[in-house]
Structure formats: C-alpha cells, structure tokens
C-alpha cells in the first residue's frame, strides 16, 4: 500500500509541477473562450457605411426603405432572439447610407452613365434604380463594386422587401394599425420543464451541455494519452524492470492510473472553480457593459455527476491506453495502435447530438449504458432531462464493473508486455499473456 502511494505521489507531483500542466490549465479555457469571443469581435469590426444612391421612379419607395432600416433594430429587440443566425449576418453586414437621386426627366441610360461615373470616382458604393412599375413587378437591380459582399446585399434586399410589402399594403388601403399588427414578429420563448417546475431558457443550456460534453471528451482524450505516454516512457527507458523488482506490476499500473486521475481532477477542479467565479462575477461585469451572458445555474449534484462520469470515462479509456502502451515499443507505435481507441471516443462524442435531441429515447438509454459511450451520453442526459436515478446508478455500476474487468485484462498484458523489448506484441500474443496465469 505504501509503495502504491509512492507511485501515486510520483505521478501526481511530477505532473502537476511540470510546465505543461500549468500551461494547459491556463491555455485551454483561454483557447475555448477565444473561439467564442474572437469571431464576434471580428464580425463586429465597424466598416464605413455603404453609400447607396437610390433612383426612385415610383416616388413612394425611398421613404419606406429608410423607415424599414430604422425599424430593423427595434424588431430584433422585440423578438427576443439574440442567438439566431440572422444576428450573425447582421453583424457581418455593413451599415447603409442612402441618398436619393432625383431622376428628373433624364432617361435610365443617362442616369446610369452618370451614376457609373460617380461609382468609379468612389463617391458612392452602389445604386439602385426602382422602375415606375416596381410596386407590381418587384424587380430591380443593385449595381455595386463589390458583389461578393452577400451579407450587405442580403440586408438591403430584406429591407427593400419589407418596404415593398409596406407600400403595397398602403396601396391596398390597409390602415396603419393593421399594418403594424401584420409586421409584429412572433415571440417564442423556450421554457424548460424540469423537476423544479418551469424555468426560462434561451439556449444557454444547449451551450452548457455541449460545453460539458466537449470538456469531458477533451479531458478523457488528453489524460488517456498522458497515461499512454507514461507507460511507454517506463518501457522505453527500461525503468519497468527496476520497478517490477520492488513493486507488483498491478500496483504500479494502478498507481499510475490513479496518480494521473488525480492530476486530471485537479485540473478539472481548477477549471470548474474558474467557471464558477466567471459565472458569479464575470457575467455581472459583462452585463454592465451591455453584453448579455446568461450563465445557467448548475445544481451542485451535476458537478458530482460530472466528476463520477469523468472518472468512469477516464478509467475505461486510460486502462485501455495502459494496455496498449505495454504492448508497443515506441511512442510512434503507441500512437498508431491508439487510433482505434480515439475513433471510438470520437464516435461516442458525436452520440452527443442524437442524445441531446431525444434524451429519453431507447437509443439514448442504451448508449448511456455502454461503458465506452456512457460518460458523455449519460452526462448529456443528466443535464438535459435527468433520467431516473436507477438508470444513472446502473450506468455507473456497469461502467465501473467493466473498468475492473478491463483492468484485470490490462494488468496481465502489462506485466509481460513491459519486459518485452525489441518488437511490438501482436494481438494473439497479448491474448496468450491474458490466458497465462
């Protein structure tokens, strides 16, 4: 037991003290938040407004178009949708500044020749000529220098659309109150029915589930690879033989797995605390600057479940990694042999999507019982629509039972494999080691 603790202590202290640990602890959340924030910042970079000349031969549309742009802002606020796609294209699209150009009695050709010249002289960025029959045909052309700017064009088109509809309603003698009513957007508010009754939810819980699933996936992958590396190091540097003369191979393998798991838990706890601090203070700071960040309130039990299912996932995958590590001779070989494991892990991460869509389906039930996919699948179910407790307990029971079985197999391969130098062990060979007492 004391030797086991010696091994655990070495694994833990050496890893936590390493620069790599400190760097990854700080860097990973930073990278993840950068992925969230940077695109918004870049899309939000202000570009000078597009100057568009409008030749309105209908004589009615220019005012409507201006009005339509002015209404855009208030409409968004009313819909309550801050996360939808339109928002992103809105951010990407530039602002407009309209200028009415009176046609007088010039022909279209004359006007166009004139405007083309101004376009080339960069006095304007584009122009539209609305024909007298625009109200009936709805057809026009947008001349501009930069047809690649689909976002701005889209915004112009939809504003023009609304303006046209508005004007047509006026022509049809619809009174102003009815018209306003017609344009009133629908308001859909997602409400989660949980055990605690109804709670408002506007998309944050999806982000949370996704985040949790993703962190789980990354952590299992990262720490599984660390175990693989640790086992290969001891084999490659031939430390294993000295170690085996003073500790049982099983003790050494377990010490390694437990030691690395403690490192992982340390890192996850730091991240969890950082997230909580951000949730408490950061969200307030952001809110005061007008950025709405609704941090969902996570019940304490979910942190516990996260810990339990992380440990399950970690021990399932890390034990397999330890087994693989003892079979190979170099880190490169280990990487190759580990590919199937990574693939299984990737697949069980993608299971996230069907499970989060239908957390209580038969499919979701089974994937949350299979130890390889349970950590992510069951956690997603817990966060979205907590299944009955017996299911969670059963999943953990099957999972940790399988972990013991995998450890039993791995320990047998490990104690022979660690002392086999020179060539990679084949799978039949490894199976023979398992059968040998």
């Amino acid at each position: 037991m004391r030797k086991f603790l010696t091994v655990v202590k070495r694994e833990y202290v050496q890893r936590v003290r390493a620069k790599m640990f400190i760097v990854s602890t700080i860097l990973l959340p930073l990278v993840m938040s950068l992925f969230g924030i940077v695109p918004a910042i870049i899309l939000g970079i202000k570009t000078p407004p597009l100057r568009v000349a409008v030749v309105d031969r209908t004589g009615k549309m220019f005012g409507q178009l201006r009005q339509s742009f002015a209404n855009e802002q208030s409409e968004d606020a009313a819909s309550g949708n801050t996360n939808d796609r339109r928002d992103i294209s809105r951010l990407a699209a530039g602002d407009f500044r309209f200028e009415e150009v009176s046609a007088g009695d010039r022909s279209d050709e004359q006007i166009r020749a004139d405007l083309d010249q101004r376009l080339r002289a960069r006095e304007i960025d584009g122009y539209i000529i609305l024909a007298p029959d625009f109200l009936t045909t709805g057809k026009t052309e947008f001349f501009n220098r930069n047809p690649g700017d689909v976002f701005s064009r889209g915004r112009l088109v939809s504003a023009l659309n609304r303006a046209l509809r508005q004007q047509r309603l006026i022509e049809a003698n619809v009174d102003s109150r009815t018209r306003e009513g017609l344009f009133e957007p629908v308001q859909v508010q997602a409400v989660k029915i949980g055990a605690g009754g109804r709670e408002r939810d506007s998309g944050e819980s999806f982000a949370l589930v996704f985040g949790v699933g993703f962190v789980m996936y990354i952590a299992i992958l990262m720490y599984g690879q660390i175990v693989l590396g640790a086992v290969i190091e001891e084999k490659e540097t031939r430390i294993a033989e000295i170690l085996f003369s003073s500790v049982k191979p099983f003790t050494l393998m377990m010490g390694k797995l437990v030691g690395v798991s403690l490192v992982a838990l340390t890192q996850l706890t730091i991240w969890g605390l950082a997230f909580s601090v951000f949730a408490l203070y950061g969200a307030g700071v952001l809110a005061s600057r007008g950025i709405s960040a609704n941090i969902p309130n996570i019940p304490f039990s979910q942190y516990i479940y996260f810990g339990l299912f992380f440990l399950l996932g970690y021990f399932v995958y890390a034990t397999i990694y330890a087994l693989v590590g003892s079979m190979v001779t170099t880190a490169q070989e280990g990487g190759q042999l580990a590919v199937p494991i990574v693939l299984i892990l990737v697949v069980s991460f993608y299971v996230f999507f069907p499970v989060s869509r239908a957390p209580d389906s038969t499919f979701s039930f089974w994937v949350s019982m299979i130890p390889l996919s349970a950590p992510i699948a069951m956690l997603v179910r817990i966060v979205t629509q907590t299944p009955p407790f017996w299911q969670i307990a059963l999943s953990l029971l099957i999972g940790f039972g399988s972990v013991l079985a995998i450890m039993w197999v791995a320990a047998r391969v490990y104690r022979v494999g660690m002392l086999m130098y020179g060539k990679r062990a084949s799978i039949p060979e490894a199976l023979r080691w398992v059968r040998q007492a």
Binding site: Q14, E233, I242, S245, S246, V247
Partner: protein
C-alpha cells in the same frame, strides 16, 4: 556450511516460455558475503534466473529461498537490483528519482536525503543533484542507476552487466564500490559475459550455457582444476616449435607474445628445451593459469 550463510538458494528451478526452456533444473548456492559471478553467453538464461530471484517472474517448478525464507515483499526490500536493461525518468530531477527508488524499497524519511548526498559524492556527481537525468551523459546516468540499486543499503545486490558502456576510470570506481560493499558483508550476484571483469572481482562463479549449469564453485578451485597447462612465451625465432601439434594444441599470438595451450600429456620443460634448441632468443617463458575467458570458451564450445 550452515544454511544461514547461504543468501540465495535455488533448488531445481525450471522456467520456460511456451516451447522455449530458459532455465532448466538449476540449483545454486550463493554464499553470504561473497561476490558470485553468474556467467554465460547471451541467451544462456542469466537474466531469467535473476528475474526469478528478484521476484519479477515466478519459476514453473523448483524453489527459491532468500535469506532462508520464501520470497515475500519484506525480503524483496533487502535486495538491490541493477538490471541489464535499465533507465531513468528523463524529466525527473536526480534527487527526486533517487528518493523515489528508495521509497519503493520502503526506505523513507530524513535518512534518504543524507544517503542521496553520500552516494552522489561517492560517484562524484554531487553537483548534478538537481539536474534532470536527460541533461546527464550516458556514463553519468549509469552511475545514477547504480545508486538506485544500493541507496536502500540492501543485503543482497544483484548487478547485471553493471560496467557495460562505462569508461575504464568509472569501471574502476564502481569496482571499488562493489568490493567495499563486499567488505561490508553484503552478498553480491554479478552477472556478465565480460570474463576479465568477473575474474577480478568474483569469489565464486556459476557458468550457465543453454539454460543449464555447466559448473559452479569458487574461482580458485575451478582454475586449479583446469591446471597450469598454458604458457606465455615471448621469443625471437623458433616459430615452428609452437606450431608442433604434439606439444601445443593451440597458439594465440598477441602483439609481442604468444599464449600456447599445451597439448594433452605434453610437458612445458620439453617445450622450453625445444625452443632453446631451435635457437630462439627467449624473453619470457611463464606458466600461467588459464584465464576465465579460456575456461569459458572451452566449456561453452565443448560438445554437450
């Protein structure tokens, strides 16, 4: 001899891997306070034998007693083992590694620190104490590995090819340490195929070949049993005499002298007379013991 003076006792130990028998019916007595040489060509079963003694693998049949007891973890902590295949954690500080290996032998606490300093000073690596092992040269690493096997003051020290790859100065340094440990009453099992080294430090030897013991006993006795049937000769002329198969069965010519193994029944005096008669100018004519190397080669190439 009393049983308590036998540190390691192997009794008809057999170990096979599938079809291949690595060690067959091996019985050995390693006496306390002596240096025991476990010799043999590559693949003779030395490493397998050692692995069974240090409890890495279990024998298929036969028994092994250490200090008169069956193997158990407490007995295991009295062993120091330096395997042929050995290494250090690349990124770990030397002092941390040594403490780790000491703790794995249940040697803990403040005393470890003093031992670490003592041993580092002894192998002249004190200033490397807080360096990572990847910063050390191969020879330095090897000395650190040696310390890992002795840091906990074991009563039985097993060294598998401890000097391979070391420069002569460091070989000398480690050899001195091994002999000091012997003087301190430790038992040492020394496995090698470098006969010149074994010859200088072993009291007893056991020669293994093709999984079996060829012979075992004290080095003195073995040499005596082979007799003084070898002559070191340095002379000018008289070459033909050394090539006479009636007198000399084998000649090995070195740069300035030749070593002649006398043919069965031949007399050294006759050889000397023949050389003088042939007009050779003799600089040296000396009866020598066969080297361990000669014994080794003779025994190993002998048809079984």
């Amino acid at each position: 001899m009393a049983a308590s003076e036998i540190t390691v006792k192997l009794d008809r130990v057999t170990k096979s891997f599938g079809e291949f028998t690595a060690v067959k019916e091996l019985s050995l007595d390693v006496r306390a306070g002596r240096v025991f040489g476990l010799l043999g060509p590559n693949g003779a079963g030395k490493t397998t034998t050692i692995r069974m003694i240090v409890n890495i693998t279990a024998p298929d049949s036969g028994s092994i007693l250490l200090f008169g007891q069956k193997l158990d973890p407490r007995v295991q902590d009295r062993i120091g083992y330096l395997p042929e295949e050995r290494g250090l954690y690349r990124r770990m500080r030397i002092s941390d590694q040594l403490r780790f290996f000491a703790e794995l032998r249940n040697f803990r606490g403040k005393a470890v620190e003093a031992k670490v300093d003592e041993w580092l000073a002894r192998v002249k690596l004190s200033e490397w104490k807080n360096k990572r092992s990847m910063e050390l040269s191969k020879g330095m690493q090897q000395k650190i590995q040696f310390i890992t096997s002795v840091i906990h003051d074991p009563d039985l020290l097993i060294l598998d090819e401890p000097f391979s790859g070391l420069d002569p100065i460091n070989v000398e340094l480690l050899k001195e340490i091994v002999l000091d440990l012997k003087r301190a009453g430790k038992t040492i099992i020394f496995s090698t195929h470098q006969m010149e080294v074994a010859e200088k430090i072993c009291d007893d030897i056991c020669l293994l070949n093709r999984s079996q013991k060829v012979f075992e006993g004290s080095l003195r006795e073995i040499k005596r049993s082979f007799g003084r049937n070898s002559v070191a000769v340095r002379c000018e002329g008289g070459d033909g005499v050394l090539d006479d198969p009636a007198l000399v069965s084998k000649v090995v010519r070195h740069a300035d002298e030749a070593q002649a193994l006398l043919a069965a029944g031949a007399d050294a005096q006759v050889l000397l007379k023949r050389l003088i008669d042939s007009g050779a100018v003799i600089g040296k004519f000396e009866m020598v013991e066969p080297s361990l190397n000669d014994i080794f080669i003779t025994k190993v190439t002998e048809p079984a």
